[in-house]
Symmetry: C2
Subunit: 282 residues, 2 copies
């Protein structure tokens, strides 16, 4: 169930607890990054305890892609800090379940997959940064997210390539302001890592007009009004900026043939009770 | 061997590799925070692999006290990033060895204690921040480090109280500038957590004139020249500011009766090849 059930305004104004209750009842199974605007959203990655240290190390070593904001004790079904009332098994609109490096299911809850030895990682995705950019009236839009050919820094048995995302800023000044703001939010990927469209080979992007993971051009939510319906072509003075993407742990699950992992489905996020601004480190 | 072997100037100008070689040969066994000035120093905490996830979680949940800058794979004897040429078993001037929650040794190397399943945590201590404060000509001195009665956020089997440290800033403006600078360096404890001397009960400090861990008053190194020989009494306009202390994992080892842990001895640090400024996040 989805898009037409609520207006954009209704979604934006929903409290995190209300929105999670709606999702928990199965009444919203679409991307929810435009809901409860201003509240911190989180990607999810869940592994058995015997993979938890390696995933934590992987996140530590690849902070631009997957900075772990909160990590639970084994078996916990709720984050103790960023969303104490949430149930990690039911409160995301859609999940992905990996077995031996393959996606075996994309369910709307993971109750039947849950085990007592599971450790959950809550990882801040791009929409948190986009909200902060919007608050500061920075003019940007998001092209989408891509599979790169750049290796993540491995950790134990975990390895894989980085997922990355691309934004277009309207002017150089918007890009600089965007970097300043992003730098204050390590929980929202922190500062970007790459500029421009003239060095795509380094990242292994064959065609930046065809994002592999999430095509966002044309989505009006979480884009500056000036940049809606932008399309892929840069206009004079605009700057393309590449940043991390929280789908990276999923690529690691595939590449490393992790025996069992549960994640969010891209753009189907946990809505937490914390405000994005709470994560500013300065 | 120690203090009189080299002049302060010789120590300050020693390269990290030179200083580590001197320490490795057993020719320097004293605190080394004043050596290789400007280079990032690291506390050490080493646990068997089956405690590594919990220690990582403990660091994650108590970042003001013990922000882990680098974590090794099990068995690695060298950090791959911040000091690739270092040997963690020999290159700190003095270690502490814990067994079942007790200190059993304070050796100058840990070769005989080393095991293939050990995971090493490199944790940024206060001297890195002090260097940044000195660079910016902020006027401060350090009173010392204390055992507080404030619980760290536990992680699995790991629990204990926070170690904290106290600095005095000469003016409110120095204190504000100090907070701004500290906020840019999460690897150097980040922003402080407490002000003043009129709420010591909250932290469980019975007598702030008697630091439990490291008394620093009177040490001229790493203090602003205006504040050397300051003594414990605040002068008009000065501000006492409390921050995290990297001895916290050692308090957890004691309180949690960790079967086996190796750490640095307080103020006996690993000198890395990275510059303090490399860790600025903005």
């Amino acid at each position: 169930m989805g898009r037409n059930k609520f207006t954009d305004e209704q979604l934006a104004e929903m409290s995190p607890a209300e929105m999670r209750a709606i999702i928990r009842k199965g009444e919203w199974t679409e991307p929810d990054e435009m809901a409860s605007i201003g509240y911190f959203k989180a990607n999810l990655a869940v592994v058995p305890a015997d993979w938890a240290f390696e995933l934590m190390l992987f996140c530590k070593r690849n902070p631009i892609s997957c900075y772990a904001t909160e990590v639970t004790e084994a078996g916990a079904t709720s984050p103790g800090w960023i969303a104490p009332g949430a149930d990690l098994r039911t409160d995301l609109p859609r999940y992905r379940v990996f077995k031996d490096g393959e996606v075996i299911d994309e369910p709307t809850d993971v109750i039947k997959y849950w085990r007592d030895d599971l450790v959950s990682f809550l990882i801040g995705p791009l929409p948190n940064l986009l909200y902060m950019l919007q608050s500061a009236n920075v003019r940007y839009c998001v092209l989408g997210a891509y599979n790169s050919t750049v290796s993540a820094v491995p950790a134990g048995r975990l390895h894989g390539n980085l997922a990355i995302s691309c934004m277009i800023f309207k002017t150089n000044q918007d890009a600089v302001r965007g970097i300043q703001i992003a730098s204050r939010y390590p929980d929202g990927h922190g500062a970007p890592h790459h500029f421009g469209l003239n060095d795509l080979e380094t990242m292994g992007i064959k065609d930046y007009r065809k994002p592999d993971i999430i095509p966002l051009i044309g989505e009006k939510n979480l884009q500056h009004p000036d940049m809606v319906d932008h399309g892929y072509d840069l206009r004079p003075g605009e700057v393309a900026v590449w940043s991390g993407c929280g789908v990276t742990p999923q690529l690691a699950a595939l590449a490393s043939k992790v025996p069992f992992m549960i994640t969010h489905k891209a753009a189907h996020l946990l809505i937490t009770d914390t405000r994005c601004e709470e994560f500013s480190i300065i």
